[in-house]
């Protein structure tokens, strides 16, 4: 154990996990808890039953392509996910995730992380420790200004704080 701020179990996904799979259009505009109950449903129908607060999504290339819907990172965060790690992201999803305060990291060696592994992550250091296998990795850290925005809970709380 390293004592990093994020500590949770991995939910592993493949490439091209699109916004329709993450946040189906059918539930957009319904109450937050309904949208969140259907998070990731298209990729794993049991996701919302399995996920625990603090868990981590690990995915392959091009996570989040498709719609500009901010509900995609919103339902991921709302379901308790503390961090997303993927080999690459679609542009709008990446920007939306930061704007709503979901830490999101680019990491190439996702093949070395399995579904159910336990990870510790420090997004500012860019440190990922796989407790299950005992292996430690580095990734590109979130820049301090972006991490501050994420810590404040997203763009809006961040701007309000700056105004005060």
């Amino acid at each position: 154990m390293k004592g990093y701020p994020i500590h949770g179990k991995v939910h592993k996904f493949g490439d091209n996990i699109n916004t329709d799979l993450i946040s189906p259009a059918y539930y957009i505009g319904k109450a937050d808890e309904i949208m969140i109950a259907h998070a990731m449903e298209g990729a794993d129908p049991d996701f919302s039953k399995k996920v625990q607060p603090g868990d981590i999504i690990v995915a392959g290339h091009n996570f989040g392509p498709g719609s500009s819907r901010e509900t995609a990172p919103f339902v991921i965060k709302g379901s308790g996910i503390a961090c997303v790690i993927a080999q690459s992201y679609a542009r709008i999803f990446y920007r939306n995730a930061i704007n709503i305060g979901l830490p999101i990291l680019v990491f190439e060696q996702v093949d070395e992380i399995r579904d159910g592994d336990e990870l510790e992550i420090d997004p500012i250091l860019g440190a990922i420790f796989n407790i299950t296998t005992g292996r430690e990795y580095t990734c590109v850290p979130l820049p301090p200004n972006i991490m501050e925005l994420v810590k404040d809970g997203g763009l809006i709380p961040h701007l309000k704080k700056q105004r005060q």
Partner: protein, 417 residues
Amino acid sequence: MGKTLAEKILAQTCGRPEVSAGEIVTSFVDCLMMDDALGPWFVDKPFQELGGVVKNPANVVVISDHLCPSGNVDQAENVACARRWCEKYGIAYYEGMGPCHQVLGEHGYDMPGTLLVGTDSHTCTAGAFGCFGTGIGSTEAAGVLCTGTIWLRVPESIRVAWNGRLPRRVMAKDLILKTIGDLGHDGATYMAMEFVGDTIRTMPMDERMCISNMAVEAGAKAGLIAADEVTEAYLRATGRKYPYHVFKSDEDAVYYKSLSYNAEELVPQVACPHVVDNVHPIDEVAGLRIHQAYIGSCTGGRMSDLEAAAEVLKGRHIAKGTRLLVSPGSDQVYRKAMETGILSILMDAGASILAPTCGACVGLHSGVIAAGERCVSTTNRNFKGRMGSYDSEVYLASPATVAASAIAGVLADPRQY
């Protein structure tokens, strides 16, 4: 060093002599477009938290299209929210006139050399006018409402050249599907695609908009086509909401990558489930049973699309057990298709004519599909569950291919009709 079209447009919108790919700039927003689904319903809360004052009301437009005509009370409440919000803040509002990207073009919002951001990912459609159109999230839209500006990274560009004349029954949709198939679902992520060549130059705006519309399916931030005399003729006919600036890439502009194609060799293309880059020539997939054929959306519901379908369907009838749904791309397209007799040809062939809407394309209403069903569609995404059940399949193709498939009851080559 020369500049790309993307660099020139963003220099204009930032008010700077020049900008280069990789720079992060703050730009004036000429137009903020919000749709119903992801607009005021989601934007109002962060907007109020930031003070609730619209900086430039004349540069904002709201278009209700995804959720109307509403299929249930939740959808109706969302549209009512958009309507009330626009009344309250004095914002231009369009409802039930068709997919926002078509309405924007028809009402003079897609101005060359300007920046248009929208809460829908297919806002890149405006690129067909040499307008830097790009999709943003709801929180960012709230920021644009309050500040009238947005920060952007100036993108690298991929140059996509198409030259030569498209063969009979081969369309812009086939051209962009072929390009995305080669580039990949994330091949242009964070970048601008710039379409050049005489194939593009000789296309009407309808077909150009189909190409720019799908740039985001390769991950692109924008899908640009330099404005020319075809663009200016369209703008004269539709009217203009604000001043525009015509730019062209320099001869020595630097591109991340260049692709070059001969249009004369292109055959009809089909994007198979469940990823848009799973593209095959029609002969590899012909014969697969289909249940629904759909013509519509911001990708494939324009006048040239309906005309292409009518050419194939004239004097013929759709197969038993197959349904053909047609949602004209806007009220203007609907009226023109009615007045020119195109709708009669489609109806004689067995088509159901729907209201102009995003409904079925996004799986919300007006033509969603059941488990085990296959739909061949002129729309833009074939993601799992996109048009209905998670156990259904969507095949993306041109309106000519969709029409031919409706006649055959199986995926079919339009060149045989």
